[in-house]
Symmetry: C2
Subunit: 395 residues, 2 copies
């Protein structure tokens, strides 16, 4: 059994993953698998059965690697100042706040890229190259996760959030000041790790994503009523806040894997459309979900937090809704009136259609990738396509 | 007259700079001068007179360039979201909050480096190279200024500052949320500009500086009483907060100018020691300055904000001061008691000695640079040495 430099067995043992009450065995997470088949020319036996594929939780393919990354991030932030380290560690509890979704998608994207080493690499060269490649993939996933969490923390301060992702947000638990510093700390660590990748294009893409995140939050915070009522403005802001980081990271992942600009753009399109579809479905859940999620939608960051895609579509059908919006939602009666318009409009249905469109575009981007003979690559692509379907079902 | 690509005349006209009531003429700022002498083999006539040198305001050498950078930064931050742009612009008022000190030192450092082009560059090549070099120097100064201001803004939030640098701080004027976003925005712009430099070492050095700034602020915010009473802890924090950015930027400036690692380390030493000397003198001013600055020292960020170098030296002489520190400074009587110990100790004098030591080390770093035949280079080095003397006089 080959041991990875970080001490993790490349044959990572039995993974028990729950999906619809069904437990199945996955001996190898895909990045390791891909390295393994590159190095030892073995073939994965794991995911060939189409029945298994249908039941596949797409993220289970990378569960082991994501745990490893979460663990590494927790160690990484144990810095010189213990109080800050504990604050930063707080948000890397896998499955709690951050959910590590970015890492999961990115690792799948990494293994969906057909990484080649020369047929006859210099002795030991192929092995070293493949390991280095895996390390860079992990590093990019970590960087993206750190940027995401840093932004999440700062947004929590700006939005006066007391809960994000189901648990108390960092600013609520530890105060705004420590939360601000924890965000800054993570962002600076992310940029340092990015510098270590020594790839200018990666830096430009991720730098753009960070700038977009800030711009998106500022657009949300400072919009005029006119801007709040514009679907174009809303979609631009949604791209900045919910799709730019994922799309630019996916593109970077493709470039780090030595792919062409064309393939990198498909990876970008996947990330962008997945992010948009996810946010649009989240907008629907604010209205159709649990009372808790409904409250979240209504009590969100701005007096106009209620104005997301469903209300904007309702506004197109019922222009008289504008008068209610102009009055604002400090008065709960105005929320009720807006909801009345929403329920008699096709707002929810049209938002779902738009989410489905973006979901399809994401799947189409995966399907447009050049064919691969590598089964692990195909499995990862399949998992990414399944993910596009899951997102619009919000399972 | 040669016109720079950005529309600024390389022969920048008459600069009227006030120093001790004396007005003098400086036809060329040094970076332009250096480019000019590189391109046209002319010699500056400006600063040869030693009497003039003695009266030189070191920053006047780069006044024109700094104004240009301040103007560029104001334009740069006019982004897609006008409210944020106005917030960011607010802090780039030259001579008010930011003072552009980092830019001034860095531009002097840039022109203190002996930048060479080949004797017979390809037609037009020397010109293009020199212009590109100047642009990169300006870019580094802008990046450093943006990082400094972003940090300044976030520190203002953490410290609950209502005044920084003599005017209302951004968080006080525009609220914590917009200030937080403005800081994030500037930091992301800085990293994007850094990516455009396409220099991995620059990215690593500036990335380290950003991380140090955050670590320093966190050390200040979260220190135990034991740590507050440690001179070693204090100096480490002071390096992170007040010297790391300048030292790493000075080093980067040297590297961008194609200097050796040895020269780059001398530039680093200059920045580090200048930053430390500046902060130590600032610590003294908190006790000996105007009532306003005294108030600033006492009402600063933490309950232990009074514990800077002078008090730490006093504590060495009078260990019984520790009991007062342990009680904290919520009670003004404890401040009075601490001051009594300070005035009968050598705390101020020893802090000044330490500042002088660091000032001398900065000057020694400049004096250790390899000799240069270029008069403009020598003038800039001289200005940097004068600056080390000015700082300990706090003129």
């Amino acid at each position: 059994m080959f041991i990875f430099p970080n001490g993790v067995s490349r044959i990572s043992g039995i993974l028990r993953t729950s999906f619809s009450g069904y437990y199945w065995l996955l001996p190898h997470p895909p990045c390791f698998l891909q390295c393994q088949s590159l190095l030892f020319h073995t073939t994965s036996q794991s995911l060939t059965d189409s029945a298994t594929k249908e039941q596949l939780d797409p993220f289970s393919l990378v569960a082991d690697e994501v745990s490893l990354i979460a663990q590494r991030l927790r160690s990484l932030v144990v810095a010189e100042v213990p109080k800050l380290a504990s604050a930063a560690e707080y948000v890397f509890k896998d499955g709690v706040e951050g959910k590590m979704t970015h890492s999961k998608v990115l690792l799948l994207m990494g293994s969906a890229m057909d990484f080649h080493v020369a047929e006859s690499p210099p002795q030991g060269g192929g092995c070293a190259l493949a390991i280095e490649h895996c390390k860079r993939q992990h590093s990019l996933a970590e960087i993206t996760e750190m940027i995401h969490v840093a932004n999440h923390i700062h947004d929590g301060i700006v939005d006066d959030a007391n809960k994000r992702g189901g648990i108390g947000s960092l600013n609520f638990v530890m105060g705004n000041k420590l939360a601000l510093l924890a965000g800054d700390f993570l962002l600076s660590r992310a940029f340092n790790a990015l510098a270590s990748l020594k790839n200018t294009e990666a830096l430009l893409l991720l730098g753009t994503a960070v700038e977009n995140l800030v711009t998106g939050e500022t657009m949300q915070m400072t919009a005029t009523v006119e801007q709040h009522c514009s679907m174009e403005y809303y979609m631009q802001k949604t791209y900045y806040k919910s799709a730019s980081l994922l799309s630019n990271s996916c593109k970077t992942m493709a470039l780090l894997s030595g792919q062409t600009a064309g393939v990198a753009n498909l990876a970008y399109e996947y990330g962008k459309n997945l992010g948009l579809a996810y946010q649009l479905m989240d907008d629907i859940l604010d209205f159709t979900g649990t009372p808790c999620s409904l409250e979240k939608g209504f009590l969100s960051n701005t007096p106009h937090g209620i104005i997301t895609a469903p209300i904007l579509f309702a506004l197109e059908e019922f222009p008289q809704l504008r008068a209610v919006i102009d009055q604002g939602f400090d008065n709960p009666a105005n929320i009720d009136t807006a909801l009345e318009y929403l329920w008699k409009s096709r707002g929810i249905e049209r938002t779902r259609k738009l989410a489905e469109k973006h979901s399809s575009l994401a799947a189409a981007a995966m399907d447009s990738l050049p064919d691969s003979n590598n089964e692990d690559v195909r499995n990862s692509r399949q998992a990414l396509v399944i993910l596009t379907q899951r997102i619009i079902r919000k399972e």
